[in-house]
Amino acid sequence: MLVGDIPENQLARRLRGTGINLSTGALTVRIRSNIQTFVDEFTGIYGGYPIEDPPGIDDGCIDIAFSSRWRRYFRPKAQAYLDGCTYFQPLPGRLAFPMLESMLNWCLAISDCPNLLLHAGVVERDGHALILPAESGSGKSTLCAALVARGWRLLSDEFAIIGARDGRALPNPRPVSLKNESIDVIGEFAPDARLSRRYPGTPKGTVAFMRAPSDAVARVAETAQPALVLLPAFSPRSPVELDTVDKTQGFKWLTDQSVNYHALLEVGFNTLADLVDRCPIYHLSYSRLDEVIERIERLHHDAVAAVRAA
């Protein structure tokens, strides 16, 4: 059953009561909320996602609720809870949906995930994954959204999940989080992209979410073999520039982008070392999306050919 299959009034009632178990691929999270605007926006973005019905064991329970009884009426403020604990400051009630997105990221980051988690976007074509690890503000999500708009399959905008057993990238397709100028950039680059409304005033400025294509959600069980790692950096007015990263430096850089490398101990080392063994790594600076996508597609094509030849 999909979120969108539940009649609106029933969904609102369930979210206010026992909640629904939303499955995004890597995680199944119980979600509850008593904020009506949140319910409407949640349905709009997650309507195509499966829910467990009846609910099984979840990876965590997220409550998005007014921070106090009075805050429902007077300058409404919302608070997000994960298994009853708060990790973020309350925000105005109109930002309840972005709070869910932050909490879903947090839920995965602090989970006992047995696989390697890298702060990275991941997209796939021809069965092979392109991994885009980057720090915030580097243009990772913009590039990820642009590639998805050009037909690449979205595996994740926030975390690359590299399987410890087979080294494959596991899908966890959730909305792509676009910030500030990148909202207009993607709006102009991909007029057909399905963007949410804008949420001004978040800790990261104005954000909007690009819905994950239904194909990406439907193929959530299809893992992909990593073929290429690009470390993107948006650089105004810069032509596309590629610099090979030597594997030792790439390894070090990727450990810095991992949230659980050290916790996984030997498994973390083996998984990351295998990834670095298999994939060429480049620093990529860019300013124009059309230009950089063309270059990425050629690079990915060559990387896939090399993987197949090996």
């Binding site: 030597d246 594997k247 030792t248 390894f251 070090k252 050290h262 070392a273 670095v276 063994d277």
Partner: protein, 100 residues
């Protein structure tokens, strides 16, 4: 005066379960005992790999290192080897073989 005796045997630390990769002459080594990952240069890496194969004496390590670098096995080389052995020991990657 060398820091370590010629006949001192060295063995791998981390209960013999070090994991490593060598890329372009640089070594990335994981020590399961400490949970630490170390980045090691080519010369220290060559010494470590020599010890990974089994306990080996300081003297033999010196001979192998001289062959590898194609230099005389003299006091200067020995001083450098002692420094490397001291550093690898401090990182817990190797240890004297007689230690319990």
């Amino acid at each position: 005066m060398p820091e370590f005796p010629d006949d001192l045997d060295w063995r791998v630390g981390g209960q013999g379960r070090l994991r490593y990769r060598c890329w372009d002459g640089e070594y990335v080594v994981f020590n399961p005992s400490s949970g630490s990952t170390h980045l090691i240069g080519i010369v220290a890496g060559e010494v470590l790999i020599g010890i990974l194969a089994g306990p080996v004496s300081t003297r033999v390590l010196g001979e192998r290192l001289a062959d590898f670098l194609e230099v005389e096995n003299d006091a200067k080389l020995r001083a450098n080897l002692d420094t490397i052995l001291g550093e690898l020991d401090q990182l817990g990657l190797i240890e004297p073989a007689h230690e319990c």
